[in-house]
Symmetry: D2
Subunit: 358 residues, 4 copies
């Protein structure tokens, strides 16, 4: 329910306005050297307030690792962690105690639990994803030992799309601009669009593309836990995500089989590869050793900085005028979250694969 993964398993807790959020990472193998600076950088990437195109909320996002690491090395026992909630203006939200914000989780939480913590969205706050960064970054540190790297970037904002294939992009440029788009010109266009939208108190959607490189063949399970199925669950579990596709994805609908199949070839070292990669690195639910790539689409967030109509928990109509600190576009901050979720899926699959043969 609040856990993710079968072997490498993250369990999270926490609301945006309690004393802290945090979680437990279970199944981390013993012997991984932990790079705390890398973890801090990862947390910074998700953090609000990085630029004026994301929310100005000043969350501390400092992680305290409480267990499972001894003298800098993982011990194989669970890693508990907390992220204190520093900047809580609960009063900002008092007006929302009996009001359901449209397209938020207020109404559905009320229907599910018969009650809710209305402050800042409670458990539904995007702040929850900070815990995912911890789980994902530590997974990524383990994956690096196997030569596996994961990179995501903003590939679309509004109708401005980066159509160049990922193989033509310089991933080092991703963090060179606040949009996290590796193409500098597109990045400028996207940034301009976000500012224009923000100026109107409105928000806008977009797409994140993610690439996993160095993943060995053989990961994933044949039926319900196909690698793409696990990735799809992971991505659709991110706040505001509305869709996922991999390889040729939705474009597959209009393709012929003769143009979609990936012909095999033998490399000079004797290994078998494919000439094209329409499969997105996964065939029959199992990785084939090529790059894995997929897209995640995010809706424009529902918090508008303008007056809107809504209802109270008694169904009465009312007005709402959010004045807080909100992202006009969540896509740039979703980039590290997509990477984190992908890292957990891949590490979990890698560990599970070890049980597959006698």
């Amino acid at each position: 329910m609040n856990s993710f993964g079968q072997i490498y398993r993250l369990t999270t807790f926490g609301e945006s306005h309690g004393p802290a959020l945090g979680g437990v990472i279970d199944g981390m193998p013993a012997g991984v050297k932990i790079d705390m600076e890398s973890l801090t950088r990862a947390m910074q990437r998700r953090r609000p307030g990085q630029s004026d195109i994301v929310t100005a909320r000043n969350e501390s996002d400092s992680v305290q690792l409480l267990s499972g690491i001894f003298e800098g090395i993982t011990t194989g026992t669970p890693i508990g962690f907390i992220i204190p909630n520093a900047d809580n203006r609960s009063a900002d939200y008092e007006a929302m105690r009996h009001t359901f914000r449209p397209s938020h989780a207020d109404f559905t939480y009320q229907m599910k639990y018969g009650m809710r913590d209305h402050r800042g969205g409670g458990r539904s706050s995007a702040r929850e994803t900070a815990s995912r960064i911890v789980g994902g970054e530590l997974a990524a540190q383990a994956l690096r030992q196997f030569g596996i790297s994961i990179n995501a970037y903003t590939s679309q904002v509004g109708d401005i799309a980066l159509d160049a294939p990922y193989t033509c992009l310089d991933f080092n440029a991703i963090d060179s601009n606040p949009v996290r788009c590796p193409d500098p010109l597109k990045a400028q266009e996207m940034e301009r669009l976000i500012r224009a939208v923000k100026a109107k108190g409105d928000t806008i959607g977009g797409v994140v593309t993610c690439i996993v490189r160095g993943c060995p063949a053989g990961l994933g399970e044949p039926v319900f836990d196909k690698l793409q199925a696990r990735l799809a669950q992971a991505m659709l579990s991110i706040n505001a995500a509305k869709g996922f596709d991999y390889g040729t994805g939705f474009a597959s609908a209009a393709m012929r089989g003769s143009e979609a199949i990936d012909t095999f070839t033998q490399a000079s070292d004797g290994t078998i590869h494919t000439l094209t990669n329409n499969s997105g690195g996964i065939q029959g639910g199992i990785s084939n050793g090529e790059d894995i790539y997929f897209r995640v689409v995010f809706k424009p967030v529902a918090t508008l900085l303008r007056e809107i109509d809504t209802v109270t928990d008694k169904g009465e109509t009312t007005k709402l005028h959010a004045r807080g600190r909100h992202d006009p576009c969540v896509v740039p901050r979703a980039v590290p979250i997509v990477e984190a979720m992908a890292a957990m899926v891949i590490l979990d699959s890698l560990l599970l694969q070890r049980t597959t043969r006698l």
Copy 2:
């Protein structure tokens, strides 16, 4: 690994060329009256050989329910079932013992397990989905008792798309044509396209749209098991599926928040609803009581009825000329599988929801 669901849980087994495939349905509540005719119809809908636009393989697909039902009513104990494999021409596949078909699971199974059952794709055969129909149809029978219904249809084949919103369609017309498209004119166009593609020994992709009606508010879990995340896993676990989106889906990227939010309103009976349903019936990962709708895209299947280049398991280049019985377009037969997977997700969520409040 070969199980799906937390409370209502289907575990499947079986290859296309063993004596039988089958499974176990665990967590079916006691007291559901089983309609065997409805189950037989459901199996027929997935079955090959229904028309000349799908594979002519003559699979029996007769299900034997072996337990968990007493005098026509479920007892709460697990329902085991088998589906015997009747029409097995193993010899058809002997040539493939050492050959990897492109964009199939042959190579990846070999890399995962160090071996494989090469006959008919073994476990990766789409025949595996017959077991899902059993799990899904029995789930659907339970859901009907709660007034929940699930309908899927073909909404795109190649570049022929049915753009009309689902609310304008007559779901009774879905099965009136072999394409399973509720719009008769579009259905004819799609059918013509499939025949043309088939004539060239080629295949083509498409999209299935699915609608869940009558689902109460409150289903789904807030974080990793958001209702859309469970649905996404379910759909991406279907053979040949390449993507999933719900509500406004991928179109969300280009939307403004001001056009995407669903404004609340109070119905005459006092219940709260939304004026629009861009959210696709799910907000914050939890159903809101509106219709749930989503899309699943399927690639053109990789088995072409023409000569193609590929490699052996030693990496040597070879030619392959499939002559078997294959679908030029899997989308019509994917329709009942999408419904089945959705039914299992919804019933599982419904049962889990009962544990949520004191």
Copy 3:
């Protein structure tokens, strides 16, 4: 619910009076050569009607493996199996439709599910354990490849106890008598006692002792899934089991620490062992490489071949006179079930252990 194990996972279904029972073994590694004769022998050992001290029911107990094995070798995909129910005299049980047999599951099933299949105890029948033999025997076949063997035997019937330590016993003698006690003299005493009890229409309890040899150090999880905890669950899940202990077990209550600790020593090959084995091969929840040994106590079964008082499902008092075929002592037939459950726990732990280190 009807599944056992995390990686090597058995899911079972079936009542004593349906067409068949069976199950699915998931997580069996690829590459295990299956010995069908060994499986048949294992089924024979559990089977009723082996001698006149166990029930004369003539169950076929022939297993059909339906998947997951190709050319005699496991493929890594799930192994489905069924065991047809051959000898079903449902009419024997019609009288019990509205009667609750004392100390059976009739009343509790009715309270749990609001209904029940009253024939032969339905799902609560000991026949369900036939499926466990399949799961356990195949696990044992995999374990043999790692040099791990598991042997259980009857160590007590009524007040006749075999007090000799297991290290003094000849395990080859276990199956030389119907009681499955490796000490021939004790076996005779036990057999006489069972016959005497049977002559009175009564039943009697006993104890099974089990030893796992060749188990490497490192198996088991530190906290909730301690190896002894998993074994305890496994054993208490067997019908009629009332208790479990391992190592010095219940005798530990009266021991001093100074006599209970196992002093370490270094063997000539440099490996570390213990001089004694009060720990029963498990320390801190993890195997230490010494023999694992434990006991399971079984109650006298509740079906007496004499007239007894009981109530109907309306609470009215009534008489019951069982005349069917029942075991006067389940312990001899419990021996292979204890072995089967132990084998599944050990193989599961062995596979899970592979994920523990980087």
Copy 4:
């Protein structure tokens, strides 16, 4: 691995010598009023240093609940908590860095993970059970709403056993003495024995008996997750536990069926009960509405306050003289842990039972 339970699910983390231990409680239903004083009392009961017959270690054991509770009521979202480690004398343990204490987890952790945190036993420390008290006490608070109560007490220390049936005891007297034995005279005898053993630097074992009252019929799953199987796993997962039995338990071996069966009777209110309760409140794996009772045996702890022989991690013989603060008998402090584990099993079963019928 570090989680327990299917619906009500506790995940724990933490070593005795890190900054904190803690955990996450998932699946707590919304609407439970949390009694913090009751939680503090529960923590006090497990805490070391309560009397001179238990370890004098001064652990703070103050729990911080970090989420999942709003205005004193559970919200249905996960409850994260930490218990800071206050009194860490890591230096006490430096000598043990390369030494394996006999009958501890030092050697087995090393074999499992290839490394270990040697300070205070790391994850294997009994301090880990503090987290279980949090999970168990909050479960108990929920159970009280259903009229279910759980009481455990010390029923044996060394060879001093309290043979009186639990129905003759005054549970209010349990905490009136440091041994937690409700019979004052037996308690004095036990206390004297513990002091005598302690004076010799030795330790002693014992037995805890636990009773669950008010449990409705119908809890538990028929096969692998029988209620007694779940309880057995729960109890054997407690440090130093060596065995478990329920109802007539190990004494069943010597019983006849005719004396063991529990004859049904109808109470004046029409409900069906049993005249005796040899079944210990569970039949066929499912609660029958009578009191559930069981025993857990604990070994004498392995830390002796005297010089003993052992080996280093290189296998060399060495001497060890523990001088820390250790329990001469863990049984009194095990009492609340047994209750906590039982509470979690019962609440989990109660919630799961809600999914059983249509």
